[in-house]
Amino acid sequence: MRAMPITRDEVAHLARLSRIALTDAELDHLAPQLDQIITAVAQVQEVAAEGIPPTSHATGLTNVFRADEPVQCLTPAQALDQAPATELGRFKVPRILGTEE
């Protein structure tokens, strides 16, 4: 069973990994709530599940294939229509590389 509560630092780290710029106030608020939730869901560890296969999906379907035929898709104009910014018929995004030479 889990001995340590989830810490504020751990929540801050997970938020960074999740690309959510949480404020300090939010960290203060969310960390104890998450700790309470994690304590509750840790109950699953009580279940004796030795040798029980995991289920990721209930229907038992395996992969589905279709004929590789071209079908109609969105036009570039439709695809770009809802973009926050575009330039020269492309999505325009903030820089993704550092500024150093």
């Binding site: 889990r2 989830i6 751990e10 929540v11 997970l14 938020a15 960074r16 990994l17 999740s18 690309r19 959510i20 710029a21 949480l22 404020t23 939010e26 608020h29 969310l30 709530q33 998450l34 309470q36 939730i37 994690i38 509750a40 869901v41 840790a42 109950q43 699953v44 560890q45 009580e46 279940v47 599940a49 029980i52 296969p53 995991p54 289920t55 990721s56 999906h57 209930a58 229907t59 379907l61 992969n63 589905v64 279709r66 969105l74 439709q78 695809a79 229509d81 809802q82 973009a83 926050p84 910014a85 999505f91 995004v93 903030p94 820089r95 993704i96 590389l97 550092g98």
Partner: protein, 498 residues
């Protein structure tokens, strides 16, 4: 005659007989929305012009002598997580505010193929995470029985719209109970079809192994009509089941449970359940027995771990699914002033665009999936999922359907559980097992709790692709309750001043 008080089946018959037009019927619902939605706030978007033009087209086709489907001209409200071309789709989130999808969800296309009239988009908990609509970025919806109470969630705008006669039918989606719980607390019918029985294409993803689109109606037959129209194989959804739609409408008309074996799940009862919910449920079980069903009690010992397993599996899937909201190709983008890189803009946008519950679940999912914790949390939850499926398998060897309450309490007050996530999660206690197992379940009204006069729902669960059994049982119960009450349950809903 107030057209909004008709059932969808009656609307369909009157439209076919040309006693009423689709235009009149649509206008009557738009007028109703205009007069009561200020109090209910079921809709985030009302598609008045589109609905009237659709209705006009249906009337023209009928006048030309075309043979039209059963739902032709019948209005439907659509939960705001179905992609709709030409209408906004927000998922109750700021991050999608003003987003207009470039395509229709398959189910929306099917509604259009069936000539149903889309009235607009209904309120919901942000990204379908919640049981009250209080997590909507656009404010909560209100329960037509008592405006100070929640209408359930996450599909609470849809349930409220149907209970308030703003729409005869509505689409919802159920991941942990988001159709059945709102149906129960609003006194209407709602079904979670078998997972894979209804297409997820164009339904914004929350937890993909659980998300199941489904119907709401005021009667069992109405709900079956929408269920049949929306369902069936879709090549655009790789988890869609390629098999005929179970005969739900025929089952709703049959309404006979003579000799049917019904199992009462003893684990879904006891501490934490409101007395009035348990007494209405016990009465419903007696009623089913009096209608000729063979009732037995049985235990599903792993159901008590369904809630914790769900709150590991669903957040894990959501933390991955919601990564797509990255401020790059559509949706909100903030703080892009040229000085910040993509990662900063992404983090600031997600901070501003997501509400508390969504943030909680993304972080919880990231935690459950992180190395070092994966086996203890996500891995273990997946094993519990197997055990719950086995519990169902054992039960369905002995009985045809299982029954339980839908949710432990009647509608709670707006604000009462808003900042207590664990208390909110308990609303899903009885509905989660069917989501984890991917089978079918329905909520049908079974009376009012004596202590507060608010509606209680009876849950019926059936094996995967035996959705028709739900409708047989629910329709039989509904007919017997109607005979006892002498009027539809919604006649008691007095929350609206209109």
């Amino acid at each position: 005659m107030d057209l909004t008080r008709l059932t969808a089946a009656e609307m369909s018959a009157k439209l076919a007989a040309k006693e009423i037009s689709a235009t009149e019927l649509t206008q009557a619902h738009l007028d109703r929305i205009q007069s009561v939605d200020g109090q209910i706030h079921a809709f985030l978007y009302v598609a008045a012009d589109q609905a009237l033009s659709q209705a006009g087209a249906v009337d023209a086709r009928r006048a030309a002598g075309e043979d039209l489907p059963a739902l032709a001209g019948v209005p439907v409200a659509v939960k705001d997580l179905y992609a709709t071309k030409g209408m906004p789709t927000t998922c109750g989130s700021r991050i999608l505010e003003g987003w207009h999808p470039p395509y229709d969800a398959t189910i929306v296309e099917r509604l259009k193929d069936n000539c149903a009239i889309i009235l607009g988009k209904t309120n919901m908990d942000e990204f379908a995470m919640g049981s009250s609509t209080e997590n909507s970025a656009y404010g909560p919806s209100h329960n037509p029985w008592d405006l100070s109470k929640i209408p359930g969630g996450s599909s609470g705008g849809s349930s409220a719209s149907v209970a308030a006669f703003e729409a005869p039918l509505a689409l919802g989606s159920d991941t942990g109970g988001s159709i059945r719980q709102p149906a129960a607390v609003c006194g209407i019918v709602g079904t979670k079809p078998t997972y894979g029985g209804s297409s997820r294409y164009g339904v914004v993803a929350f937890a993909s192994s659980l998300d199941t689109p489904g119907p709401f109606g005021r009667t069992v037959l109405d709900t079956a009509l929408l269920h049949e129209a929306m369902s069936g194989h879709d090549p655009m959804d790789s988890t869609s089941i390629n098999a005929p739609v179970p005969p739900v409408v025929a089952a709703a008309r049959q309404a006979n449970i003579e000799g049917m074996r019904i199992g009462v799940v003893t684990d879904l009862s006891g501490d934490g359940y409101q007395p009035g919910v348990l007494s209405r449920f016990a009465e419903a079980v007696e009623l089913l027995e009096s209608l000729g069903a063979k009732v037995t009690e049985l235990s599903c010992p792993h159901f008590k771990y369904a809630l914790p397993a769900y709150y590991l599996i669903a957040p894990s899937e959501c933390s991955s699914n919601l990564a797509r909201f990255d401020a790059m190709r559509y949706g909100l983008r903030v703080s892009d002033d040229g000085s910040r890189d993509a990662e900063e803009v992404m983090s600031l946008t997600r901070e501003q665009g997501f509400g508390d519950e969504v943030k909680r679940r993304i972080i919880l999912g990231a935690y459950a999936l992180s190395s070092g914790y994966y086996d203890a949390y996500y891995g273990k939850a997946q094993q519990v999922r197997t055990l719950i499926i086995r519990d169902f398998d054992v039960a369905f060897d002995q009985v045809d359907v299982l029954v339980s309450p839908v949710t432990p309490t009647t509608a709670f007050g707006i604000g009462e559980r808003a900042d207590d996530p664990m208390a909110m999660y308990l609303a899903d206690l009885c509905t989660i097992p069917s989501d984890l197992a991917g089978n079918a379940a329905i909520s049908v009204p079974c009376g009012l709790a004596e202590e507060d006069g608010l509606p209680v729902g009876l849950q019926v669960m059936a094996p995967a692709m035996a959705d028709d059994r739900l409708y047989r049982v629910a329709a039989a119960a509904e007919a017997a309750f109607m005979a006892r009450w002498g009027q539809p349950i919604l006649s008691g809903a007095k929350g609206l001043s209109a």
